[in-house]
């Protein structure tokens, strides 16, 4: 019974996306720290993560139960430097801000779901 409380679709989705957002932030941190390191290749979330999540939600592929987010080398990034480093600082900073906003939104969704449960259970509407 307790378990069923937290089975909401959006709630589960938001939680997994939160994991992904934190992981992505760490990837961006690594990229920015190594912006000048010779030969370093930028990393990011595996691009198929969102599609995998959506598929798992709709039950399209029976085997794909909640895929785990992972970081991998970004194959689409091009290198403009002779030493092979393909980090572009402006792009990383932009992704940093965007990921931060996404994290904020997702934690709001999680909070909303938890608060609704609390209001429904206790009959006390909080401000």
């Amino acid at each position: 019974m307790i378990d069923a409380l937290f089975h909401g679709e959006n709630y589960q989705l938001a939680r997994q996306l939160l994991d992904a957002a934190v992981l992505r932030h760490q990837g961006i941190a690594s990229n920015i720290a190594n912006a000048e390191t010779p030969g370093y290749k930028r990393v990011d979330l595996a691009p198929d993560f969102t599609t995998q999540l959506a598929a798992a939600m709709n039950g399209d592929e029976p085997g794909s139960r909640s895929p785990a987010p992972r970081l991998m080398e970004d194959t689409t990034a091009t290198s403009a430097r002779p030493d092979g480093n393909n980090v572009q600082m402006e792009k990383e900073l932009m992704l940093l801000a965007r990921n931060n906003t996404e994290h904020s939104f997702l934690s709001q969704v999680v909070s909303y779901n938890l608060r609704s449960l609390r209001v429904a259970i206790s009959g006390k509407s909080s401000g």
């Binding site: 709001q108 209001v119 509407s125």
Partner: protein, 112 residues
């Protein structure tokens, strides 16, 4: 939705039955066009409608939020607003229910 709330509150106010209507009940002997009972029906319908309305806001919020989370929409503000609206709607419904329970309990305490 605000209309429904207005109607609800006036219906709730008429719960303790007005004296002249009670008289009519006693004299006529039959419910026919008795306002309190009719009020109770309307009242029940209104409350059901409130529940439906709140449910609808939650559906909208869930759908909009999911679209943003899956990357199908970048309108963050739409999702945020629908989340807050639905949260407020739930709070409102709970408050109305609490007030009703309170009034009912007070009514039951009235010495006959």
């Amino acid at each position: 939705m605000l209309n429904a709330i207005g109607n609800l509150t006036s219906a709730a106010q008429s719960l303790p039955v007005a004296p002249n209507q009670l008289e009519r009940l006693g004299r006529a002997g039959k419910p026919a066009d008795v306002s309190p009972l009719k009020g109770a029906h309307e009242f029940g319908n209104l409350f059901n409608k409130l529940i439906d309305d709140v449910g609808a806001t939650r559906q909208t919020a869930a759908a909009e939020t999911q679209r943003v989370m899956l990357g199908q929409s970048d309108q963050l503000h739409t999702a945020m607003i629908s989340l807050q609206e639905s949260s407020l709607a739930l709070n409102l419904m709970v408050e109305v229910r609490n007030k009703l329970v309170e009034s009912y309990q007070e009514l039951m305490r009235t010495p006959v």
